[in-house]
Symmetry: C2
Subunit: 291 residues, 2 copies
């Protein structure tokens, strides 16, 4: 596996693959790789000739009081894991490579970003849009892979690719979970032991919502209230940021769950804010792959 | 020459060129082609294997009281002229092809857009950034060609390409002029006979500014005032929108002309707003090509 640290070298590397008519799958990450990331890389490896991945903790998508500084980092372990997962070229740029000067061009999005995580993270998705546009131009992929744990990010990238006609296919892959159901996340290392036990209630709440939908509950408010109550009964260290049920990927309010919807939640702990979600088709079945 | 009207067909057409390892030069236009556009196509033809051009009057870059409806159109003559200038594929999409739904993704720019034409055309450059990003993704060019008559547009595209790491080289080519100096423009057909005579004073004013710089005048305000006075003495139907002298391409105020600067002006006539400019290097020599 090749490790590349500059934009110029990454562009040259990709140009060679292009010349060889290799199909490129790209997995952008912020590093501290877990099985969720590795499942994306393995799937990209199955579906493409070349897997490019990036590790870049994008300062532009963190708010001033968020966890940019304490976001976990382990480049050595990441490089080993990425190589084992089939990555051919790993792009690890310094922030000054990606942002050599203050950005003049601004990217924003109407809708999709002002609900769920967007509400408590103003500017977050603008930062995501900016870095992904840059990374897409630098790595020139045929397909990009994201985990559905960040389902709102997948919805925002879906708008980015469609609205701006990027010649790229978006693939959203299932959330990978611990044995007790907790969604794998780089931020889980910032949970105390007690918080780690509590954290499973986010998934248990969503699974309860799934049961309600399977049992025939159609009213979003009913589902959200029941999930919220279950979480409130079981959280003490954690505090709900939101539980929402919206259309997917348009992320608009719905009056009934008889369409593709997402049930999503976020919970604050002392040093980590965890998110999770389930996406349902119009028959209430859980959807695991989006593309 | 192939004429393509849909995004899908354009993407497929370009994919074939890419597969053949052809270098693609792209000339985006709003049609009603004149020698200025044709000079871009001819130069693109010299420097690339394939010349792609587009004719698209972009509704997003026109304000509500601007001339979108009366912008001149002549597709038959344009197709003939483009073919003669060496264009291989001409993309003429309907607005519904480019904007099938309201845009969710928004592009903006800090700086470069709030001076010169940007001041009297709010939203104009946001529309330009959006359509060019889309067209760049659809046509996947190696080089893009713009006329320096729209020097602010070239500066904005320069920021777009650099900030977002587009794998594209920007080429700005000299303004083509009528024999009396008037810059060629699709909008010149909207001038009355009297206005057409007056219109040459925009160029004469800029040329007077050039003479002042050659004669050693270094102070931007002096140059702008002298040019403004000359225009005001000679315009009756026309009305100055702006005469400005700024750094180029950053378009910031300067205290002296001892660097790359642009002297630019815009004049309103009844049914046309004309623009023109000269770009000078640090020695006061006119620059005709930017890349």
């Amino acid at each position: 596996m090749k490790i590349v640290r500059t934009v110029d070298e990454m562009k040259r590397t990709v140009a060679v693959y292009r010349d060889q008519k290799k199909q490129i799958g790209f997995v952008p990450t912020m590093g501290f790789l877990h099985e969720g990331h590795l499942s994306l890389m393995k799937e990209a490896n199955k579906e493409n000739d070349i897997v490019a991945a990036s590790i870049f903790i994008n300062p532009l998508q963190f708010g001033p009081n968020e966890d940019y500084e304490r976001y976990p980092r382990d480049e050595t372990a990441d490089a080993r894991a990425a190589e084992n997962a089939g990555v051919d070229v790993l792009f690890i740029p310094d922030p000054t490579e990606i942002y050599p000067a203050p950005m003049q061009i601004q990217l924003g999005i109407k809708g999709r970003a002002d609900v769920l995580c967007g509400r408590s993270r103003p500017g977050h998705f603008e930062g995501v849009l900016t870095v992904l546009t840059k990374l897409f131009h630098i790595t020139s992929p045929d397909k990009v892979y994201f985990g559905l744990k960040d389902a709102q990010q997948v919805a925002v990238v879906d708008a980015l690719i469609n609205d701006l006609n990027f010649p790229i296919e978006l693939v959203g892959l299932p959330t990978v979970r611990e044995s007790d159901g907790l969604a794998k996340s780089s931020r889980n290392v910032n949970l105390s032991e007690h918080e780690r036990h509590e954290a499973i209630w986010l998934y248990k709440g969503l699974a309860f919502g799934q049961k309600l939908i399977h049992d025939g509950e159609q009213t979003p408010n009913e589902i959200v209230q029941n999930v919220t109550e279950l979480l409130n009964q079981n959280l003490s260290a954690g505090k709900i940021d939101y539980i929402e049920l919206l259309s997917y990927p348009s992320l608009e309010p719905v009056s009934s769950v008889n369409q593709r919807v997402i049930l999503a939640g976020a919970v604050y702990f002392a040093k980590a804010r965890l998110i999770d979600n389930l996406i349902f088709d119009q028959d209430g079945e859980v959807i695991n792959r989006v593309n």
